[in-house]
Structures are given as structure tokens and as C-alpha cells.
Chain length 206, copies 4
DNA sequence: AATGAATGAGCCTTCATTCAT
DNA sequence: GATGAATGAAGGCTCATTCAT
């Protein structure tokens, strides 16, 4: 199993695909960075599209485990919500591991392709399922499924905004810095917004 | 002096740029749809990049007036917030005018370029300014600027989620239809979430 | 005769043709500098090639008279030779009038076309005829026509070298400056070389 | 690892570049003659400009050795000068090897580019150095460097005239044929002119 | 008489893919 | 198993010329 070239290609591809998108990224760029030959991609993966898909799932399977062990179900639902939000927000504060998956997601949102399906299955749906559980515990029991879903979307909507709209934010409020302190306050803000909405939902039933 | 070709090009360009992005869209596609010659773009706009920019601002200037001059400041701040949210949400319910600007925005979020600056100035900043006024009126007077901003971002975050993440939504919840009824409920939901957060902000001060 | 545009085109064309050559010079450049329309050239001159030819002869007829009517045949043949050489050499010392014709000549030497014929007839042949007369007077009477011609070519060869090979000279001897003083010494040098050759021709007959 | 196409391209390029100049020559012409594909040039050389430069130095390195190792320093300086001149003149008499480098030189004189630098370094400067040695030996010892240089330029000026000004010569004296006999007489003529000038320089010191 | 608009041929270059080794 | 060489389709752009006014 001396597939060193194949491994190297899978490792170095995400960077470029994340930055340029599937179509704009060129195989020459990628093999160049991997120190491999142009034909390597077609040899190992058949064609560019297939390679793209394989590279994404390879990266997901390698990095997802580290990110998902977030249960600690002994905590209160409120705390679980705060943790969930904190994990989303701190993704883009800690810059050390470049957020490939997130950038790929934006690229796929702009130009959806087969890879989007895989990302939804492997990344989004599990995360959304976890959030659904938390919100179900928080909200009144007689909340309809649709209502729970809306609350979930409110959570991820607020979180993803800081993730996806950075190019807008940096132009709209150039002075705003997303350092650790701001991130902490953000987590508190979003959490309290969502809990206030939950509370309102309970009050409504009185 | 009809400049008929130039006009036709400006009209038919947004469609393709919105769908494919600046780089992937080809001038041949665009001129083909406009029934014009490839050189027409270089003649009228110098090059592809400039044409892209001009097409976007052309479209903004043509469609923006219809969308923005609805304030009705005599209403209560709560009603103004509901109206603001409703305008954002109903953008993608009424399908008649294809949401070019919104798609362009996603494309630019994935691959920001000079056009992003123009969109922020012409579209985003005015809208955000209006929202800031509304939220300033709703929130306690001693709210810091940063706090107001976070509430604003919570509003647009929740709204934009349905706008930007449609490719995700359609895969995550294929049964969910974004018809007029769901949109109306969505507006109510987001409005009540935000107002609950505002109320919590007031309660905190007691 | 309000052919102002036509005149302006003829005036401003040489500059660009001289610098770029016929093929590389574009009509857009030329009409741009003349403040005219692209179609002006085809309208007034039929096509680019014809315009090029007319521009060159226009310039020749306008500038040649000032340059050629200096014979002073009362002087000694030696002095006439010195004057001839001086005229050639000082062409490229006095920079005020940009040497369009000379540059056009180099362009045509690299890529000869119909214009070359006209330049030979209007510029080269008259000048060469004058030189032939001078040399015929200087050389022994029994010199063959071919011998006289070789002496003439020695004169113009030495002179033109400084005119045509400037790009080489500036790279070969970057420190060498072609100021007025060097030009004066150059005239003396070339004149004395040619007169020494003439003297040798006389001595040979003794 | 034959790189046959690359070699073939290098071989067949000079012809067209020499005839048309860098800008006017098209890659399609060149690859057509080499029986190759258009992309071959970009694959092997990156771009047209680089290909041009590589083709020129390739040709220089292939042909220069044959031409330069002829010194025979045991001969008298007069004889060395005659040899030098003869080599320059016979370049364009022997038509068998088409004079690519010379034509390229004229093209670069008309439109100098980066290639000119390389030609000066590889071709001109060595040749000029050799001539400087010869002339230094011939001229009086107290001749200034500038004086020696002028004598050298007189030599190459006379020689190059027949090389560069052929399009003029063929129009000015259509009957003059540059056959071997005329070339021989030309070598004698130029040599005697230069030696007469040398002798005059010595006489002046008496 | 003169011009802005429009065209089509051609150019260099890029790129994913295939071929031969 | 892996690669350097080569290809063909396509892209953006330039330019002299023509068209319609």
C-alpha cells in the first residue's frame, strides 16, 4: 500500500478546491502542490469530478471524528445549546485548522453539485439531528415538528451568518474584529436570543 | 443611436452570471442568448470583468427602487421589524422576478471580487442602516453599538439562512415547501424570536 | 477643403507606424491619437495599407525639402563630402524632430513592403545620386562605376551604422553617449577614413 | 524521452520568426510547419515570448561554434582584418544556410526586445572583442579607446551595410549582383579602406 | 462627409484528458 | 504503478473592416 502519491493528492486538494471552487480549481494547481504528475489524477481517480468527491469525503472522514464527540448529555439542555452554538462560532475563530469544509460548503451553496449531497449526509444532517434533540428538550412538548425546525434554523441561521457572510461583514463593518472575546460575547448573545425565544414559546402556552 | 445590443447584453447577462458565477460563465453563452457577437462585449465594455460589474450595477439600479422605498415610518417599531423581515423572506417566495442579485451575492460570497464592494454599498449597507434604526428604537437606550449590531445580525442571519442555504434545505428537508403559507409563518416566527430577544434585553435591565 | 480629420490622421500616423511597424501598429491607436473615429481611415484611405503608404509619402513631401537643398557646390569636394556625412550623422543627434522616416526605414528593412519602393525613389536615390557626384569628383577619373559605388556604400555604411544599430550600440557600449561633441568627432573620423581611402586609390595609380 | 516535438519546434521556428518578426509570426504557422499541436508550445515553453527566446539561443548555440573558432593568430594583423571582413561578407553570399540570426537581428533592431540582449551577449560582443584586438594591434599605440572603437565601427558599419540594407540595395541598384566575385572585390575594398585609414592615423603622428 | 455600432476571423493561452512508455 | 508528452476543445480578447445612419 505505497499509495503515497494518492494520499498526497487527497491531502493537498481541499485547500485549492475550497478557495477556488470545483470548476475554477485546476488539476495542474493541485498536482503541482502535491509534487505529482498531471496524469496522476486521472490515473487514480478517473477524472476531476470524481477526484473532487473523493477528496471531500476523505477530508470529512479524517476530521469529523475530532469535531463530533460533543454530547455530554449529563448537562442541562440550556448548556447543551450553548455548547452547540459555541462549537459553531469558534470554528472560525481558531484559525489554526483552515476551515476547508466550511469553504467547500459555501462553494457548493453557490454551485451545488453531487458533493453537496454527501456533505449534507455526513456533516449537516448529524449536526442538525443533534440540534433537533436539544431544541425538542427545550421547547414545550406540544410544539409541532415544523415549529421545532424553525427554532433550529434560527440557531444555525444566526451562527452560519458569521461563517458564510464574512466577505460581507468585512466590508460592512471593517472595524469589527472577530477575536476570541467577540466570539465569546457572540455565543452568549445567540444563546440568550434562542433561549428567550424558547421562553416566549412557553409563556405563550400559559 | 439605439445601443440595442448593449442593452440586450446587460439584460441577458445577469441570468448566466447568477447561475454560473463570473469565472464559469462564458461570454459566448451570454452573447448567444442576446443574439449578438462575441466582440460586442469587448466593444461595449472593454472586457469580461468590466462587463460583469456594469451588468450588476445596471440591474441594481433598475430593480432597487422598487424594493427599498417601503418604510411607512408611522408604524410602530415592532411593525416595522415585521415588515423588514417580511420583505426579506418574501423575496424568494415570489418567484416571478428571478432573484439575480441574491444569487450573485452568493457567488460573490464564495469568490469575492470587486463586484462585492459595489453590492455592499448599493444593496447591503442601505438595508442594514434601515434595520439598525429599527432595532435602535426597539432596544433599551443604553445598549452599546456592538449589542445593537449583534441583534441586527441575528435578524439578517435568520432571514438569509432561507435565502442562501436553499441547496442545503432542499436536501435536508425535502418535504418542506417554501410556499406562501410557510413564508407567512416564517415571518411570524423570526419576528417573535427577535422581539423575545428584545424583551429579554429589557428585562435584564430591571 | 475642410479635410481636417484627414490631415490630422496623416500627421499623427507616422509616430506610431515608426515605432511599431506597419503590421503591429493598430488603426485604433492611430485614430485614438488623432481624436478621430475608427472608420475614418477606411473612409478616407480605403484600407490600412493604403493609409500607411499615403502617410509616409505625405511626411516625405512635407519634410524632405527642408533637408535636401543644401549643396553649396562652390565648396571643394572634400568639404562637400564632410557636409554630406555631417548631415547624416546629425540626424540622430538633434532629437527635436523625431526621426520618423529613419525609423520607418528600419521597419521596412526588417519587413519590406510597397512603401520601401517609394522611400527608395523619394529619399534614398536622390541622396545617393548626390553622394555619387561627390565621390566621382574625388576619385581618380578611371575608377569604374562599381568602384565608385563601393566607395559610396562605404560612406553610407559607416553613417547608417550609428543610425540603424542604436539598439545594439546602447547594449554593447552603454557608456558611449552620442552627444554633439561625439557626433562632431564622428564626422571627422568618417570623413578622414573616406578621404584616406580616396588618397589610397590615387596612390595606387602612381 | 525523445522530446521529438520540442526539438522539431525549435528547429522550424527560426525560419518564421526571422521572416515575420516575433509579433507577426503566429504560433499556428510554426506548429503547422513542425507538424505539431498549438498547445505544444505552451506545454514545452510556457508562452510564445519564452519560446522565441529559447529558439534563438538554441540556434545560436548550435551554429555559433562553427563560425567563431577561426582566428589563426599567427597571421599578420592585416591578414586577420581581411579574414574578419571576409567572414562577415561571405555570410550572405553563401546562401545555403539561411541567415536566420542575421534576419532576427534586423527584426530586433526594428523592434528591440529581451532577445536583443541575448544576441548582443552571445553573438555581437564576442565578435566585437575580436575586432577590437585586431584594430588595437593595427593602430598606433597612443590611440584612445574611443578612437579604436570608431575604427571598429567603421569596419562593421561597412560590412553590415550589405547585410542589413539588402532591401534597399536591390531597389537602388537592381543590376548589382552579390555573387562570389563581387563579394571578393568587396572584401578587398573594405579591407583597403580600413587599412588606408589606419595608415593615415600613423602618418598623422609623424 | 463622417461616425458609432457591430462583426468575423484570428490570436495566444488554458485545461482536462489521453497516449505511449 | 506511474509519468512525461501531446492533444483538442474552448475561452477571452484584438483588430481591420463593414454597416447603417
Amino acid at each position: 500500500m505505497g499509495n503515497k502519491t494518492k494520499q498526497k493528492l487527497l491531502e493537498s486538494a481541499l485547500d485549492i478546491f475550497a478557495e477556488e471552487g470545483f470548476k475554477s480549481a485546476t488539476v495542474q494547481q493541485i498536482v503541482g502542490r502535491a509534487g505529482a504528475n498531471v496524469s496522476a489524477i486521472n490515473y487514480h481517480f478517473g477524472n476531476k469530478a470524481n477526484f473532487y468527491a473523493e477528496a471531500v469525503v476523505h477530508h470529512i472522514k479524517k476530521t469529523l471524528p475530532n469535531a463530533s464527540l460533543e454530547s455530554k448529555s449529563e448537562n442541562s439542555p440550556e448548556e447543551q445549546l450553548r455548547t452547540f452554538i459555541s462549537q459553531r462560532i469558534t470554528i472560525f475563530t481558531k484559525k489554526k485548522p483552515p476551515r476547508f469544509i466550511e469553504k467547500i460548503m459555501i462553494q457548493e451553496m453557490a454551485n451545488p453539485g453531487p458533493v453537496m449531497d454527501k456533505m449534507v449526509e455526513h456533516v449537516i444532517r448529524p449536526s442538525f439531528k443533534r440540534l433537533s434533540e436539544i431544541m425538542t428538550n427545550l421547547l414545550p412538548e406540544d410544539c409541532s415538528e415544523a415549529e421545532v425546525r424553525r427554532h433550529c434554523f434560527s440557531v444555525v441561521g444566526q451562527c452560519n451568518f458569521y461563517l458564510h457572510s464574512q466577505p460581507i461583514l468585512s466590508r460592512l463593518s471593517p472595524d469589527m474584529e472577530l477575536d476570541e472575546e467577540e466570539a465569546a460575547q457572540l455565543v452568549e448573545h445567540i444563546t440568550s436570543v434562542c433561549l428567550a425565544a424558547v421562553k416566549a414559546e412557553h409563556d405563550k402556552r400559559l
